[in-house]
Symmetry: D2
Subunit: 303 residues, 4 copies
């Protein structure tokens, strides 16, 4: 398939809509991002990248980091992570405490906030430095040794992180935190503030599309575990809109409130779309459009 | 692939577990089924069927009928069904009223009870006789002109259907029923009581695996709509265990409390597993085991 | 105390607000009531009635009937009613199904809809004719042998009663209905449609204020049971605003969506206020005002 | 009335049950309390105290402190506290986050944990030192200048306070905390750890029974505000058992997990009962028994 042609077509179709949606404002730093940006990149499993638009502008990775945190934890055998987090869609917004209380401090899945906090808490225990572990992974997969936390965003996350503190303390009250809440949240806030570009995100996503095979040919996790990550992207990757994404787009996706969406077509390619304007569920408006356009052009989904 | 060898291996692996789980008892008639039965059948898109075990014993189709009801409604253009039911996982048991009340009478998806009741209500409006429409479809796809409702099961469903009546009246109170509640539920109860065998279910499932192409080569619905059905099976097909099924099995599935599970590998095959004993979520224990075993043998999932 | 002076002062204070609030519209017949009406009546335990305003205009008793239904059921020893309904405030709107599902079909208290349906269902079992039993009681206490159901309102209730049907079938699914759902609801809808005037309601309320002593000197229920009825009016009598009523008014009250409110000052008097316009919780706006004004004038509450 | 005779009778009736219930164990220090203790004291509005049992043994005041915190806040005009907390029963356990999230960080009432945290946060703002303000009040009302925090209990509260931290941060995320969460919680934990005896609690409770009149004759708050405090004790004072307490006992009560219960008969007396063993709702088993026995003996309730 001529992926560059597809990418260009996607770019063209989305262009009239650039700027649509509402930039996240609950983290003040994110609210300062220019909404009139859009990037789209496809990395095929052989490592080739095709892209169009603002694909070298860094943005906050936010919840897409949850995929890589889970990969790192699953890469270590016997982490026991599945005793601490379930694998079901939640049916509620990403930061809701309701289900977490009813289900005794065990989050529904690793892609809603409480689940991701548990995964980072586990990674902190496993690695001694959760943020360093993830940064090292992303640097290796993207080939960019400078990739790092945007410290202004991280400070903004920490300042406005009371809802995440409530989630973490609720889990702590049920005995589901291994480290001090403040420590785990510090790693979590910084992990969410990693600055990445659209091209880099597509490259890093190959880790998932290749079922655990790294850029250097090493195996981060077992093929089985990568399938689990992809399955969870499908059922839980886009907040309380996962069903809608499966329906409309048909590719496993993980979104972030920084406006990025990572999608994969297993054994074929990783796709990264970025547009800062979000819909009511917290998913990028132009990002979702781009993925719909991509699927229309290739005629291919996992279904 | 030698599907018969795979089927035989699945049968062998599951055999020691036949009888596990708990036969549904909330519908008295289902409780009388002998739990020591198991069947497994795979129909490839060319129409060939491979099977092993109790594959010609009829059982109640129950919630698997929801797939075919949705297919019939989507086959009619402009049914407006998506204004009446959402497409998200529910995060709650299949017969819960809680979310339905909070979301103003619009069910979360067509595969939980209230969603399926809405679909049947729509099919009744569209066709004039919802049960007849579904029976005709299943007769055509299976080639069995005798396939019919088990009237004892249907009577048992109706006698014990108070929870479904509560769901339907709650939707009626929000204006989301088109026909008299009693009429739509009568069709719904009978549709759930259609008796089907494992081999027949696999054959009928080809309608989905072939993206809408019928046994006679006709197109029941658009390829796009079939994809939607498959996406919904993945995110919502197995009650409040859809995430777990995606994780463990990786195939789009729809289960029923009669003990059947229908799975599809798009463009390749439809798979039917049957064992009456259920787990706590209402999914067949040996059916789920068989699908895990099948995926292990073929090495293939949608992820 | 010069109650007539107090009643006149209340009437004068409320007069500028007559017509405020929103007439109930979910039962079409109630929506036709002229909002510009107001009545206020106080009956002292010796049987004297003081009143002002539209105190001889009949209105639908609606949920205030729940007090008299409970009195009749408690009047029969060993009804077992407290195994079928709890005695706690609900924290949710009067017609919510959520808590009812979570608490397995046992309603929170006898003054929310599902609780009242259970009480009427019990009264139907105990008496053979729940409506006749209540009508006879109200006729005796008011001395009006013509007091009866407004059949237009009753028909309107039945036509729009789907939410109540959902509640009743949900309870039936948990085994908490003794009669056919349709039969119990028929009595419930007609009981709510009994037409009563403000003066009559104050007189009937003496049954409660006198702790079970009837107009003819007989004892309908034990003093202890009357105290229970009053306690429940305080904690649960005004839908999800019982705390606010206790706070603002300080008298045990029971309201109805017909615009009536019955309050009691134990061992002293029964107070009836009526104004058709409701607030967001379903309580009469001018009725609540009148009770606040009354308490200000007498300087007396149960607290 | 011969209150000493009543008190002795209550003591005698409860004696066979001393030790029943389960000592609170979620705060480790509370779990060390000897369950075989019981005290009962009645203070009449003239200041006389009648008592029997372990009435001079200090215990942790816990949630009963919420009454005095609210009194102090209401004593200051225009605190704006009712913009920050509602006045309705919650229908859920005292430490639940569910309703708090659904209702946007505004707690249901000042007597559940989140409501009490808001009140203490307000008192900290109003007074500069919430703990000092409450300690000074209790010292003055009881005449015990040594009354103070049990520092071991306070440390235990702080160490196990994750659920309260979750509640406070959830409110902070909705903008409903005025001070740093850690600061307000520090005052809250110490306030709950004030050690008080049964006799002292009855004396301090006179502040409420006398509608705001202090031991020295001064007026802490307006009569109206004291009525509000009593109304809230009736509808919300005993966790998710307030309806049951109103029903069984008929007196406004506030309980604490230290095993104390304060009840008032307005304008007559304040009653303090103490027994460390709790029921499933967190209310003292022998304390509730004692109040039932007291009401039986006096024949008097607010209803």
């Amino acid at each position: 398939m001529d992926f560059q042609a597809v990418v260009d077509q996607v770019h063209q179709e989305v262009t009239p809509h650039i700027g649509e949606g509402k930039v996240a404002d609950y983290i003040p730093e994110l609210a300062t991002v220019d909404p009139k940006q859009f990037g789209f990149a496809v990395a095929t499993v052989d490592g080739t990248v095709h892209s169009a638009g603002d694909v070298r502008t860094p943005f906050a990775i936010e919840s897409i980091s949850k995929v890589f945190a889970l990969a790192l934890v699953l890469g270590k055998k016997d982490s026991g992570i599945w005793d601490r987090v379930h694998r079901e869609p939640s049916g509620t917004p990403f930061n809701s405490l309701i289900q977490l209380e009813l289900e005794q401090g065990i989050p529904r899945n690793p892609y809603i906030n409480p689940g991701a906090i548990v995964v980072t808490d586990q990674l902190l225990t496993d690695s001694g430095d959760a943020l360093a572990a993830m940064r090292a992974l992303l640097r290796a997969e993207t080939g960019d040794a400078e990739l790092d936390v945007d410290s202004v965003t991280a400070a903004s996350e920490a300042r406005t992180g009371d809802r995440n503190r409530a989630l973490a303390y609720l889990m702590a009250s049920f005995g589901n935190m291994r480290n001090r809440v403040d420590d785990s949240l510090d790693h979590y806030f910084r992990q969410c503030s990693l600055a990445i570009t659209c091209e880099q995100l597509a490259k890093a996503g190959l880790l998932v599309a290749r079922h655990g095979v790294r850029a250097d040919g090493g195996q981060l996790m077992e093929r089985e575990d990568a399938r689990h990550i992809i399955a969870l992207m499908t059922t839980c990757g886009t907040y309380d809109a996962a069903g809608e994404f499966a329906y409309r787009i048909g590719l496993p996706c993980k979104s972030g409130v920084g406006g990025g969406i990572l999608a994969v077509m297993p054994d074929q390619c990783a796709i990264a779309a970025w547009g800062p304007g979000l819909d009511v569920h917290g998913n990028s408006v132009t990002g979702a459009m781009a993925l719909e356009s991509f699927v229309r052009a290739t005629g291919d989904t996992v279904f």
